[in-house]
């Protein structure tokens, strides 16, 4: 073939193919499969998500959404493997602790414009406190669908058997402080059961201790994330107290001891309210839900967050963002609120929330959820959180022995993690 005829042929082919290609785009929009990775395998959660996806299908018959539960323990690693493997999901749940990694990386699609342009979305209703972590330069990159305060579940039966005042009575009397709470835990432990369990901490996931040490005004690192503050006085005080509670008083089960509050083995547990679904249905105990006790630094509350982000530069990013806008609009937010405390101011009242949370009384909702979300601070995350988590965990291990030198251990934490934070 001569050069000229080759050129002609190319032009002709292009003439035929280009319109086809354009046509292909509109065909491609005909069937869209969105995939969202989540870390809950709870069937009730999945049923609700599928219900919302079906609702979206009413207006977008071409879009199907599948929810892929990934194992909780390795969630971030598995998700990153998918991303590295060139096969990221369209949407993903993201932990508060890895917020910085995801929001700063440019991997997520911006949401603000799309949400503002969605009729009836009312982005202003989402509180600033809740969206701060997920916002960069005024743009929202992931929607905080779960803003869940840490609270204390109580087994009143065990507390009464030990002859102690119940937390509710202490709140009544204005005595609900960490000292009294730990004393109650010790009383129950002395009586043969276990005292207080900080759920999912397991002497590994130290970030869950935030719910404890914020009572002393302590923080893992400074506001800007550059300086380690494990050696600051509030942290030293908090950890000294915690160490005594575990190893001297026996108020908390020690490392490697498996104790399940929801099986009736412990007096109290600190966790998020969504765990209410784990309360036993057969021969239940008399349980209660109360806010975190007051610490030396006063009243406080701590929030764990989870958000949903849509990955940028994917074939269906626009549809994914649109679906996210649908999933988190006011009506669906109200549905989600039965499992995941909402970030919308308009939903943050006892009436709305008690219709969706039949397990909890309006008083419990007001005291724990509404107050908690309004005043709470989110657990701090950091860029390269996986490495920082691991480094702190390794140094902190030395603390979980009876004769640990708390100050020295905390110094070693800062020695090892300091350079990583400053980076």
């Amino acid at each position: 073939m001569s050069r000229l005829s080759a050129l002609k042929a190319t032009a002709a082919t292009a003439g035929i193919l280009l319109p086809l290609a354009w046509g292909g785009v509109s065909w491609a929009q005909d069937a869209v499969n969105l995939r969202m990775t989540i870390w809950s395998a709870n069937e009730a959660h999945l049923a609700l998500f599928n219900e919302i996806a079906d609702g979206f299908k009413q207006t977008h018959p071409n879009v199907t959404v599948t929810f892929e539960p990934l194992p909780y323990d390795n969630y971030v690693t598995t998700l990153t493997t998918q991303i590295a493997g060139g096969n990221p999901p369209d949407l993903a749940w993201i932990f508060e602790t890895s917020a910085a990694d995801f929001v700063n990386s440019g991997a997520l699609a911006p949401l603000t414009d799309a949400f503002t342009n969605t009729e009836g979305y009312d982005l202003a209703d989402v509180t600033d406190a809740a969206s701060a972590l997920w916002t960069k330069d005024g743009t929202l990159y992931a929607y905080p669908f779960s803003t869940s305060p840490f609270a204390v579940f109580v087994n009143n039966d065990l507390v009464s058997e030990a002859g102690a005042k119940t937390p509710a009575e202490m709140i009544e009397a204005g005595e609900w402080t960490w000292d009294n709470a730990l004393a109650t835990a010790k009383a129950v432990a002395d009586n043969g059961k276990e005292g207080l369990v900080i759920r999912d901490f397991n002497f590994q996931t130290w970030q869950n201790l935030t719910a404890f040490w914020r009572g002393w005004g302590a923080n893992a690192w400074s506001e800007d994330g550059k300086t380690c503050t494990f050696t600051a006085q509030p942290m030293v005080d908090a950890m000294t107290r915690l160490h005594r509670a575990i190893f001297v008083d026996g108020a908390l089960p020690g490392p490697g001891e498996n104790v399940d509050f929801f099986a009736g083995d412990a007096a109290m547990t600190i966790t998020q309210i969504s765990r209410a679904s784990l309360l036993p249905k057969e021969d239940p105990f008399d349980w209660d839900l109360v806010p975190l006790p007051e610490g030396p630094a006063g009243k406080y509350s701590v929030i764990g967050q989870a958000a949903i982000g849509a990955f940028a530069n994917r074939p269906n990013t626009d549809v994914a963002v649109e679906f996210l806008g649908y999933m988190t609009n006011p009506e669906n937010s109200q549905k989600l609120a039965q499992f995941f405390p909402p970030a919308r101011a308009s939903l943050l009242n006892a009436e709305t929330l008690s219709t969706t949370n039949p397990l909890l009384t309006p008083e419990q909702i007001e005291a724990v959820v509404v107050n908690g979300i309004t005043n709470g601070q989110v657990i701090s995350g950091h860029t390269n959180f996986a490495q920082i988590q691991q480094t702190v965990r390794a140094s902190l291990d030395a603390l979980w022995v009876p004769d640990a030198d708390v100050t020295a251990v905390l110094q070693s934490v800062c020695d090892s993690v300091g350079p990583l934070l400053a980076r």
Binding site: F102, G106, Q204, P255, G256, N384, D397
Partner: protein, 303 residues
């Protein structure tokens, strides 16, 4: 050989046909080794000169920065120490227990096959299932401490103190795989010519002396080979660490492979992970070389 007399010899002589068949036979293995071992080995080195950010999807040349990091990494000395302790502990305990069991199983006793089967059985139990059970048993309030407490003994918090955590991972691995070495030793013991013992008995040598003077030298090639396999295997241990201790407490049970996995796949430092791979390769190569030299020295006993 009639074709010699023919004027033109066919190209496909038997030798040539054979050579072609030989290449054909080894081709799958050779191509596999090139694709999945040699090229990746080159790539490990290439990646160790780069940094890859998964989330931002950037791949940048960083020169010897990862090797600089290797030299300055405060975790590396304890990680290497943990690997050394683990491997040494594993080899010593594994080999001595395997030998003891093999000698016991070599006795003329009724029902010895039942014992052999049971000692060997962990080898066929899924590694992760085996490790999960042990992790369950080794919890502070788990089965082992529960049983100890029945006898009035306060058990240690096995997986939470550095020394007992290391003992635990070694012991779990030994019981899992000692059956393999046990069987190889047993086969070697049964291969020792009986006449040697009879001669020794005539000379009045004690059982212990017979064992030291005859049995051990005769089975030394097996000991060496199994020790090579056990050591190289010990450097590859991963699942046990990941399930039992996650490398803790501190970094006391973080062996090199586990550290490599953490850096590359959990922290997403693929470049540094590759650098650690190179280090692992060098260690395995040096160890194998040393053992090869030792093999030459005892070659006398090989037939």
């Amino acid at each position: 050989m009639s074709d010699i007399s023919q004027q033109k010899r066919p190209f496909w002589t038997i030798a040539r046909k054979d050579a072609a068949a030989g290449y054909l036979f080894i081709a799958p293995q050779l191509i596999g080794i090139i694709t999945f071992v040699l090229i990746p080995l080159g790539l490990v080195f290439y990646y160790s000169l780069h940094e890859w950010n998964v989330l931002a999807n950037t791949f940048t040349f960083v020169g010897d920065a990862n090797y600089q990091m290797l030299l300055r990494d405060p975790n590396l000395p304890p990680v290497l120490l943990a690997s050394a302790i683990f491997s040494a502990g594993l080899v010593v305990v594994n080999m001595s227990l395997a030998l003891l069991l093999a000698v016991l199983l070599d006795q003329k006793l009724k029902g010895i096959v039942v014992f052999r089967t049971l000692f060997f059985s962990p080898v066929v139990v899924s590694l992760v299932a085996w490790t999960i059970v042990w992790s369950f048993l080794l919890q502070a309030n788990g089965g082992i401490n529960g049983i100890l407490q029945v006898f009035g003994i306060e058990g240690p918090n096995w997986l939470r103190t550095p020394t007992t955590a290391m003992i635990s991972v070694v012991v779990v691995q030994v019981f899992k795989n000692v059956g393999l070495n046990m069987i190889l030793f047993l086969a070697a013991l049964q291969g020792v010519p009986k006449e040697l013992y009879e001669a020794a008995r005539v000379d009045g040598a004690s059982r212990f002396k017979q064992f030291r003077r005859i049995t051990l030298p005769m089975i030394s090639p097996t000991i060496l080979l199994t020790s090579i396999i056990t050591i190289v295997g010990s450097l590859q241990v991963f699942a046990q660490i990941a399930i039992l201790t996650k490398g803790g407490p501190g970094v006391s049970t973080t062996v090199l492979v586990y550290y490599l996995y953490q850096q590359a796949f959990q922290f997403n430092f693929f470049g540094y992970g590759s650098t650690l791979s190179i280090l692992l390769f060098v260690i395995v190569a040096v160890l194998t070389f040393i053992q090869w030299q030792m093999r030459k020295r005892i070659v006398f006993y090989e037939n």
